[in-house]
């Protein structure tokens, strides 16, 4: 299988699987709370329905408001397509290492938060300002996790981290464990999941992400929804790639190893979706101003991971 084909497959795979993952989480959560819930394919239907609808935007919306959904979606889609999922070597992977990947996610967030402020409504402002707070704490925590990996493995290039961890037995590292917990906390916050935000609510005093995109409708809303679905998939893929890279096609993939890689990857997504749904149903949402402490925990864990690394290396 040649490089361009692999990259194209990766682009399509993340796009096609993202609504499925969201559907799985929703379905599982519904079952766990004793409801039947919509089918797994409901997010796909939702997106298609939204795309078909006419877009209604506020009278004073600027070009930025109309362009932001596309920019957010594109940045996150590109970021998701750079993470090795089923195959280790993708031709586009070298254009951005882990640090640049974090910044690319930041680009998507920047566009979305600006769009929240464009109309000049109170809800958009609330959402943007809280999103910015979450990001300002989550980003350093995420970079500390990256530092831990870089200090341990000497690289920030995703394929090389994945390849190294998949082939070498690094043993049970305390730092890696702490880094994993920190990254999971960051992922929960970045994806606006319980306990930081509730993706299913429109209760204005608690919401972050939904408040930002409140003014969107039609195809613009579809793009924003698709962007957050891709973002969830992105973080799951990232955690899988950094902490459980087993099963992906290493080196030059053949059709068979790529097929195995895809199957294993889908398995990882299903597992992550089930765990996320279980976690979300077993915990209550926290007050917005507790979120700072929650994320500070991630920051601290990231720092501890680095300290443990120094200690375990014997300085």
């Amino acid at each position: 299988m040649n490089g361009a084909g692999l990259q194209l497959l990766q682009f399509l795979l993340v796009l096609l699987l993202a609504p499925g993952l969201t559907g799985l989480v929703r379905k599982t959560k519904a079952r766990l709370t004793g409801r039947r819930g919509p089918g797994l394919l409901q997010p796909y239907r939702d997106l298609i329905r939204l795309l078909r609808k006419e877009a209604v935007i506020a009278e004073n919306a600027s070009w930025l408001f109309r362009f932001a959904p596309y920019l957010t979606f594109t940045a996150l889609w590109l970021a998701a397509a750079l993470i090795p999922t089923f195959a280790q070597r993708l031709p586009l992977s070298p254009i951005a290492d882990l640090i640049a990947l974090v910044a690319l996610i930041g680009l998507g967030r920047f566009a979305m938060a600006l769009a929240g402020l464009d109309i000049g409504t109170a809800f958009g402002g609330i959402g943007s300002s809280r999103e910015v707070m979450v990001a300002a704490l989550a980003e350093p925590a995420m970079l500390l996790v990256i530092f831990t990996l870089a200090l341990l493995l000497g690289t920030t290039s995703l394929p090389d981290i994945a390849g190294y961890l998949a082939t070498t037995n690094v043993g049970l590292r305390v730092s890696l464990g702490l880094g994993l917990v920190a990254l999971v906390i960051v992922a929960i916050a970045e994806n606006a999941r319980v306990p930081v935000d509730n993706p299913a609510t429109h209760l204005e005093l608690t919401m972050i992400h939904e408040a930002m995109i409140l003014e969107y409708s039609g195809r613009h809303l579809a793009m924003m929804e698709a962007a957050s679905m891709v973002k969830l998939l992105l973080f799951v893929s990232l955690i899988a790639c950094l902490f459980a890279p087993w099963g992906m096609a290493l080196g030059e993939p053949t059709a068979a190893s790529a097929a195995i890689g895809i199957a294993v990857y889908i398995g990882k997504l299903i597992l992550a979706g089930l765990v996320l749904a279980l976690f979300e149903t077993s915990i209550a949402k926290m007050r917005v101003f507790r979120v700072g402490e929650f994320l500070a925990t991630a920051l601290l864990l990231g720092l501890l991971a680095v300290v443990f690394l120094f200690v375990s290396k014997g300085l």
Binding site: A55, E59, G125, G292
Partner: protein, 662 residues
């Protein structure tokens, strides 16, 4: 002549184009001298200055690089000023001084002896002080206070630099840089010179806690001058730090550890990290557009200083390759920040000209009224938020790469300090994104928050040309950072005697600091991929989903309120982060005065913030100086007998000191 021209009605049409031509010529010459190596010309000696010391001027790689930075910025700012200067109310207070200021900065970079360096430095300080005063109406205004604080800080900084060069020249008293380089001096003298330089140049650069004057003075000047002060003058100060710490005090060439070891580097990392985070937090709480930009200058100067500190630490630890990488990152960030801050201050100038407002709480909706200015400002804001594929991201990325190389350090204190510096830099970058999201989101988006903002119109075309030039350069350097790194390479050759450590994989397309297996970044491909994908997505959506669009009233959960005050304000936007960071760092106290139920009185929220740098550093010093002055006031009213006896005692004391020392 400048005064005569400035008195005329069209002075700005004369001064600024000439200033543009001069700056462009200097930038091109300096750039060419960097690309074509015969750079180490002997210094030109002019028979001016002190009788026993002629003025030495020389261009080496380091000064050439900073000449390029300062003059590219000055050239584009001059284009901006052609249109912006049209509305200057008192042009005779700006026009004659502006060229002196630009020339002063150039002369600092060109000087090759301490005396002409200090004279040029004072020229730069005083001319910028006059420009800060230029818009002052009457005594007692904030401009006057700003100018006063600036003058005091500039004087302290100037004295510190004077003493630093005095220590460097030593008893031999030869003030040419060539002599200072080869002179031998003890560890204590070197340390004193370095600390004094950090005090003198650091205060001009705006490193926390010496930054207090900067957010007062930079915004008080006319906007194009603010752009130069923030974008160029802080770089000249960083040049002074580079000149002393990397060139004059390193001792004999080839000595790997350098003159003073790693501690100056650690100080720079600490001050840089502190400035980066505190600058961003200050900016987050500020709602004056120009003050906010000035605080962001503090942040970015901190990032450059952090890079320079890393370079010193790496060099002192014998890791020359990493040292060149950190140096390259710092130089690139200095270049990028000059362009971005030029863009943003000029953009702020355009906004002020169009609306007469500086407070973002009274702006809003400008993206519809000033489309070109807003688009350019957005690019600058995204650049300073370190977002790919713009230029501000590339230099921060390189700094992170240098930090990750810190594992190779042998001392564990340094290792840990470097990792903490990385976390601090990450926090500063995230906060900077919040700062500029808030500045652009509140200032340019939403509905107009004042009548002036509602009727704003674009200004002179030259202003927009300058803004677009800045924005285009930011995209270009984000896509192809090697354009600047190629210019920084001779600096690395000059200071570390080896080329900038970028592996052979680095081409115009790729940036590879170590090897492809470690990390890589490609601004061009990222930009192309983003643009291409966005194009495909938009086409696909429009093809399959149609492009029907209807405009209606805003939804806002069913309760839209037409009054612009119901929008989120700048201070409410900052509230979550103010609660997280401000309670301890700024002693933020919020007093809510809620009306009783049923009462129609308005509720009030009072937010009190304190600046700990003022509380703990400046006020105690000012208090001590005041107290001392009133005590010493007694000396003014003594009899002649007592004066004579005092003088005699002083003389005797000095003689005793000399006798003991000899």
């Amino acid at each position: 002549m400048g005064v005569a021209v400035a008195r005329g009605r069209a002075g700005h049409l004369f001064i600024y184009p000439i200033s543009f031509l001069a700056s462009a010529a200097i930038a091109l010459t300096a750039g060419a001298s960097l690309l074509h190596p015969p750079i180490d010309a002997p210094s030109a000696i002019l028979p001016i200055g002190l009788p026993w010391l002629e003025a030495h001027f020389r261009i080496d790689a380091l000064s050439a690089y900073f000449l390029v930075v300062v003059n590219i910025l000055a050239a584009i700012v001059a284009i901006f000023a052609v249109g912006y200067g049209r509305h200057e109310e008192e042009p005779h207070r700006v026009l004659p001084i502006y060229p002196v200021f630009v020339a002063g900065m150039n002369l600092v970079l060109l000087s090759d002896d301490a005396f002409s360096f200090l004279v040029a430095w004072e020229f730069m300080s005083l001319s910028s002080w006059l420009l800060v005063l230029a818009t002052q109406r009457e005594p007692g205004t904030s401009q006057a206070a700003a100018a006063y604080v600036y003058l005091v800080m500039a004087a302290i900084g100037g004295i510190a630099l004077l003493l630093a060069f005095g220590v460097l020249a030593g008893v031999a008293g030869d003030y040419s840089f060539a002599a200072i380089r080869t002179a031998s001096r003890g560890q204590a003298a070197t340390a004193a010179a370095i600390l004094l330089t950090l005090l003198g140049a650091g205060s001009k650069a705006g490193l926390v806690p010496l930054h207090a004057w900067l957010p007062l003075a930079h915004p008080a000047a006319p906007s194009h001058v603010s752009a130069l002060m923030s974008g160029a003058m802080t770089k000249v100060a960083l040049y002074a730090i580079l000149r002393v710490l990397f060139d004059l005090t390193v001792g004999a060439p080839g000595e790997p550890s350098g003159g003073a070891g790693w501690w100056p580097g650690l100080i720079l990392i600490f001050l840089g990290g502190l400035s980066a985070v505190m600058g961003a937090l200050y900016a987050l709480l500020e709602s004056d557009l120009k003050k906010l930009l000035a605080y962001s200058t503090v942040e970015n100067v901190g990032i450059v200083a952090l890079g320079l500190g890393l370079a010193l630490v790496f060099r002192a630890s014998g890791l020359a390759g990493l040292a060149t990488l950190a140096l390259g990152a710092a130089l690139l960030h200095a270049f990028n920040h000059a362009l971005l801050k030029g863009l943003l201050f000029c953009g702020a100038g355009a906004v002020i000209e169009a609306t007469g407002e500086r407070d973002i709480e009274r702006l809003g909706g400008l993206i519809r009224r000033l489309p070109a200015t807003s688009a350019c400002f957005l690019i600058g804001a995204a650049g300073l938020s370190a977002l790919p594929p713009l230029n501000g991201f590339v230099s921060e990325w390189l700094t992170f790469q240098a930090i990750l190389g810190g594992t190779q350090l042998s001392l564990w204190e340094l290792k840990f300090a470097v990792v903490v510096a990385g976390a601090v830099l990450a926090l500063a970058a995230a906060l900077a994104a919040a700062v500029f999201l808030r500045a652009f989101g509140i200032g340019f988006l939403g509905r107009p928050r004042s009548a002036a903002a509602a009727v704003a119109i674009e200004g002179a075309p030259s202003m927009r040309v300058a803004l677009c030039l800045f924005a285009a350069l930011c995209f270009l350097l984000g896509a192809v950072p090697l354009l600047v790194l190629r210019l920084a390479d001779p600096v690395s050759q000059r200071l570390f005697a080896q080329p900038l450590a970028l592996s052979a994989g680095s081409t115009w397309l790729w940036l590879v600091p170590f090897s492809t297996g470690v990390s890589s970044y490609s601004g061009v491909v990222l930009l192309a991929a983003l643009v291409g994908l966005a194009f495909v997505v938009i086409l696909a959506v429009h093809h399959f989903a149609g492009r029907r669009l209807r405009r209606g009233p805003a939804w806002d959960c069913g309760f839209p309120d037409p009054r612009p005050e119901t929008q989120y304000s700048a201070s409410s936007f900052a509230q979550p982060l103010r609660r997280v960071f401000g309670t301890s760092l700024f002693r933020v106290r919020e007093h809510v005065d809620m009306a009783a139920p049923g009462e129609m009185a308005a509720s009030r929220l009072l937010v009190v913030t304190r600046d700990l740098a003022w509380d703990w550093l400046y006020r105690p010093i000012a208090f001590a100086v005041d107290g001392l002055a009133s005590r010493l006031n007694l000396l003014q009213f003594l009899t002649i007998r007592r004066y004579l006896s005092l003088m005699f005692m002083a003389l005797a004391l000095l003689l005793i000191v000399v006798a003991v020392l000899q």
